[in-house]
């Protein structure tokens, strides 16, 4: 799964006039030819910074995203569901490992990324600041948040940075199981008893507003965004991803006789989905730390780090020397 909706803000590196024009031209020509960038290649600071930020946030989303679903492992109905839920959560944590390594190749250490997660400096997907109140909520996450993530990841896998593409290819392959697993769990409830149907509808009602914010607000089309599109860092606009998600999944929700809690939601004759604009004020509030679960997510992550510290210290060899991963 993945926190979509990258908001690429302008940075002090936006000014490309400080970059070597010859190297910049070579770099841009390589991307234009469809060749990937590898870690040791020359790259503009803006490219490096934005990629670190994007891949790091993606990695954080994977480990934090494991928490709301992890909550339900011990209470999943039946042994088989416990095993499947555990396998899915284990995959997500594995995805974080792949992504942290990809970001490390750009020069930010894993230690620095984990510190920035815990102290709140770097973000993760906002949807995980909402609680999974019931088993049906967990199923809704497994199906629809993962579905949104796949839309995003499939687009990003065509990006220009080699290590990120390699990680995403592997992640996308694993997501096939998550999507089927989540869909199956939702279908099980939706085609079950009236009580089960009621549960899944209530979960869908709770999760629809966060899901609609998943891809982030509409992109501001600035020169900054244009640069990142040209460099194949940003592969699709947030609105394009949202439209694709609605197109693929709203019909699948409707065919189960479930409703989407948005009276405005419909597909226009021209194929574009209309919807109530998500509450971006609440989105900002939550992203800035005031959501229902922000505190808990970071506290749990932090306690995991602190409680495991003695093991890592005990294992550390005095001969160890840090070298960033190769690719």
């Amino acid at each position: 799964m993945y926190g979509g909706g990258n908001i690429f803000e302008a940075t002090k590196f936006d000014d490309l006039t400080t970059e070597d024009p010859v190297k910049l031209a070579e770099f841009e020509a390589r991307i234009a030819r469809g060749e990937k960038i590898e870690p040791n290649d020359w790259m503009p600071e803006l490219y490096r910074k934005q990629l670190i930020r994007m891949i790091e946030q993606h990695a954080h989303s994977e480990i934090i995203g494991a928490l709301p679903e992890g909550t339900w492992i011990t209470r999943a109905p039946g042994f088989r569901r416990k095993m499947a839920q555990m396998a899915k959560v284990q995959d997500e944590v594995g995805h974080a490992q792949l992504l942290y390594s990809a970001a490390e190749t750009l020069g930010k250490s894993r230690e620095a990324m984990l510190t920035d997660l815990i102290n709140g400096k770097s973000k993760y997907s906002n949807v995980f600041n909402y609680p999974a109140l019931t088993w049906a909520d967990s199923n809704t996450i497994s199906w629809l948040i993962d579905a949104g993530a796949i839309v995003n990841q499939m687009a990003n896998a065509k990006g220009s940075y080699g290590p990120y593409c390699r990680a995403l290819d592997r992640i996308c392959a694993e997501e096939a199981f998550h999507l089927k697993y989540g869909h199956d769990a939702v279908v099980h409830l939706a085609t079950g008893t009236p009580k089960q149907r009621e549960m899944i509808q209530a979960a869908l009602n709770r999760w629809w507003p966060p899901i609609m914010t998943f891809f982030g607000p509409s992109d501001k089309m600035s020169t900054h965004t244009e640069t990142l599109v040209r460099w194949k860092v940003k592969m699709a606009t947030n609105d394009e991803c949202r439209q694709q998600f609605l197109d693929m999944y709203v019909p699948k929700i409707w065919e189960l006789g479930l409703t989407v809690p948005d009276p405005k939601l419909h597909k226009n004759a021209d194929g574009v989905w209309e919807y109530t604009e998500p509450d971006w004020v609440e989105f900002k509030e939550v992203i800035n730390g005031n959501g229902p679960c922000n505190k808990e997510r970071l506290a749990v992550r932090r306690s995991a780090e602190e409680n495991g510290a003695w093991v890592r210290r005990a294992l550390l060899s005095p001969k160890a020397k840090y070298v960033k991963p190769l690719a």
Binding site: R33, E35, K36, I37, E38, N40, D41, T71, M83, A84, A87, K88, Q90, D91, G94, Q97, L98, S101, S109, R110, E111, T115, N119, G162, C165, R166, R170, A173, E174, A176, F177, L179, K180, Y181, H183, D184, V187, A190, T191, E255, L256, G257, K295, E296, A299, V300, R302, A309, R312, L315, L316, S317, A320, K321, Y322, V323, K324, P325, L326, A327
Partner: protein, 211 residues
Amino acid sequence: MSLQSLDPRVNRLHLPENPSEPVAKTELDQLETYEVFHQKKENAAYTYVGPVHAPNEEVAFLFGKEQYSRRFACTGMWVAETRHVMVTPYTDEAVSVYDVIRINQENAMENGEKTAEAYEIFHLKKRGKAHAHVGTVTATSYEGALAEAKKQFGEMKPVVNVWVIKAADVFRSEADDKDIWNTTKDKMYREATAYRVMDKITKFKEEQAAK
């Protein structure tokens, strides 16, 4: 007051509601990096899958197995410390790296004092793809190994990047242990094919239509 959660496991941790500023992690808190190569099926070339952080090669092997063979077919695995991998420059895709690297003949020359040993050679054919093992050469240094690799594999094209690792620095799975790569049948729940969702939806729709 400790932090209250709907998850009983979190409540049992008694986490403080207002924690202090976290301490920045020190370098190597997440340990050294190792590069992992897997073999997809018997007799296939070992291919790069990615790095892991680990305190030693045995643990790196276990982490590599968890990370890279858990969800994909695998018949063997190699791991090597990142710092033991000698990396050539990366070239444009139209150019072979063997045509641009300058090998210092003096360093590469057979040196009577040093004993020759085996080096593993890996090629990257296309940027964004993964390095694959092409063969083993014998030399007295990394540079000598690269010169030898140019002789033996220089005609293979395209090659945008080469990795050279001393064979002795590669930790390998044992042929006798190949049972460890088998996935038991009772783990089908983690395969997409185990979920027959369409059957359930079709049945549901038929029932709805009959009502």
